[in-house]
Amino acid sequence: MKRARCGVLSMVVCAAVLVIAACDGGYGEGRSGFAPRGKVLIEGQEINVLLPYKVPGRLLDEFTRETGVKVNVNVTSWDAVHSKLIVANTAKTYVADVTELDWSFTGQFAAAGWYEPLEKVLDPVLITDLSQADAALTVGGHTYGACYSNDYRLSLYNGRMFRAAGVSEFPKTFAELGPVVAKLKASGVRYPLGIPMAATEGGVTPWYLLTLAMGGELFDKDYKPLFTDPGSAGYRALQFEVDALKNGWVSPGSVTLDNGPVFDQFAAGSSAILFASSPGNLSTANDPKESSIAPEAQPALVPGVRGPGTTFGLPEGLAIPVTAKHKDAARAFIEWWMQPATLRVLYKEAGMLPCRSSVLTSMAHSGEIEGGTVVGDELAHVVPLFGQGAPKWYGQFSSTAQGLLNAAVKGDVSVGAALTQLAAKATELAGS
């Protein structure tokens, strides 16, 4: 009898569990939850914002004073933001009201339906003003993010180290780079170049940049990999990184360093050149509170084959997940962030180069942009990494690239083997 009862209890528990398991797990669509403008009271609401960068606290206080909405900004590393968004959105649970939407997330997140399209939610004037930078955050005619950081790759160098080495100008081509590095080494700079090579997103970005700067592309229009041929730019780019390590141009420890620590080394005066840096880093490197080399950091056009090379943009946007609790307050926050005055403060205090064309033009004219002419000139060489938009499988491609490129620079696999494996993975992903 006792056994029978135990059996019944077990069966009931198991049945309940199975019923819950069976009933749960639909992949439902998110519903837009925006109220018509002017008909909603957001005062007193509290929103959470998930970003990889700090936002000056007094700015947030200003927003709270204006709107009555309290903002909690949760700052964590870029890779951690990516993981958190994937976990929360897959589980269809709330993560924040406003989150980071990097260009590289856009393809996958849009396909999965995790974010609200913003083209009909935000002020149309703002949408038009952002349209150029927002192209990388747009899929199928829907804009999923409002670009807040007009990030692109450009090179930085330490002017004092260049003068000490007798170098008058930054090399325009890779052929000119060798003699410059030799002079820097002779003047006492042990490892002149700073290139992050860890198995992280920051560690693969230099390879993307070098591939473009060496005159190539990663994929053709059908996403066929173009980097396996030894003569291809992608192959030469990775070989360049391996050789830079072998020749002592780059510190051996770079194989375990992400872009943050590599920038810190540059700002501490340990390296003279950062290949794949950003306009935001320029202002930080020239801030005496943040850098010991201020004001010697100089911007430079990324070198190329016969002159300045091509570079690429990595715009980052603010987006509203379909699971957000306070969508109207989130919209108000994004629109406040995109005001010219806020964007100016964010550039000066957090190094975020604005994406709004009107603000960028006005700041360039008034000389507010650090390294003004070079930063402006480099913009002319910016192309998207994926002309046809970031594919929905970019995350998997990038993750595979992180491991394989890191293995190649460590010497665990050859350049050819690493790129062949990466191409095979990309082909598999593109075909799936």
Binding site: V17, Y27, T200, D258, N406, G411
Partner: protein, 314 residues
Amino acid sequence: MGLDIHKRETPTGGASSSPCSRVDVAAREASRVGMLMVAPAVIITAVLVIYPLIKGFRRSLESGDAAIGGQPRFVGLGNYAEVLSSATARDAIGHTLIYVALAVTLELTLGLIIAVALHRFFRGRGIVLAILILPWALPSVVSGVLWRRVFDPEGGLLNSMLAQLHVVSHPHVWMASRGWALVFITLVHVWGVVPLISLILVAGLQSLPEEVFSASAVDGATPLRQFRHITLPLLRPSIVVALSIGTVGALKIFDEIYVLNGTALNTRSILMEVYNTTFVNADFAHGTALAFLLTALTALFAAVCAVAFGRSRT
């Protein structure tokens, strides 16, 4: 048994008042109360453990299309086959087995040496015990960060020491070579776990009957023979417990690798591959399949340890 119950439950005049029947009713009542008391724990376990397990297993049998906006399809054991055919996952399994073999060997050897040393009473023993516990009390991420400063290629303690001793002429990037990286990561893990293993073994040693040692000493047994023929066999239950904890801990190694070498392929463990596949690639289907393979591996080790524990007690 079933017939007996049936007989006792059959109302036959006057039988209900017999002492036997009263005992039976009381037993049934006690059983009912017991089941009621246990029910919350069973239900909570079912909801928090069994339900996620079933849901996770179901996910491991479906395609990973949901993360890119598609509908998941039933693929049977396809994800498991694909995971096992992936070179990265196979490497991760190999690395994990190396971590387990190295870590368990070092933990048991060092743990036993420390336990034997601490078993004898000496001045300051309490302080030594307190200091010994410190590495175990530190979160593994914190100990990883501490050790990163030791292995740092530029200005790290290890390179500085070796350079001063003229063993190396230029800084070595310890995490770049697979062999060194696996060894050093294991050492950091062992550093954190050895205190616990030592404490388990000290407790085991203190429970051994003193008279056995006295009798063997009278019979002329040397301390070495006593250790070989008395201490080790009697300590077997504690060793098996320590072995289980060490094995399961090494199978789950993650923090130390992540802090010291990130997600680099040359040191990636199974759990790290699960993390990378699931949370970086957003490939929950293959990630869950790999997680279930790790669970099976852990269960296998746990079963072996349980059998060994059972034998050691008999």
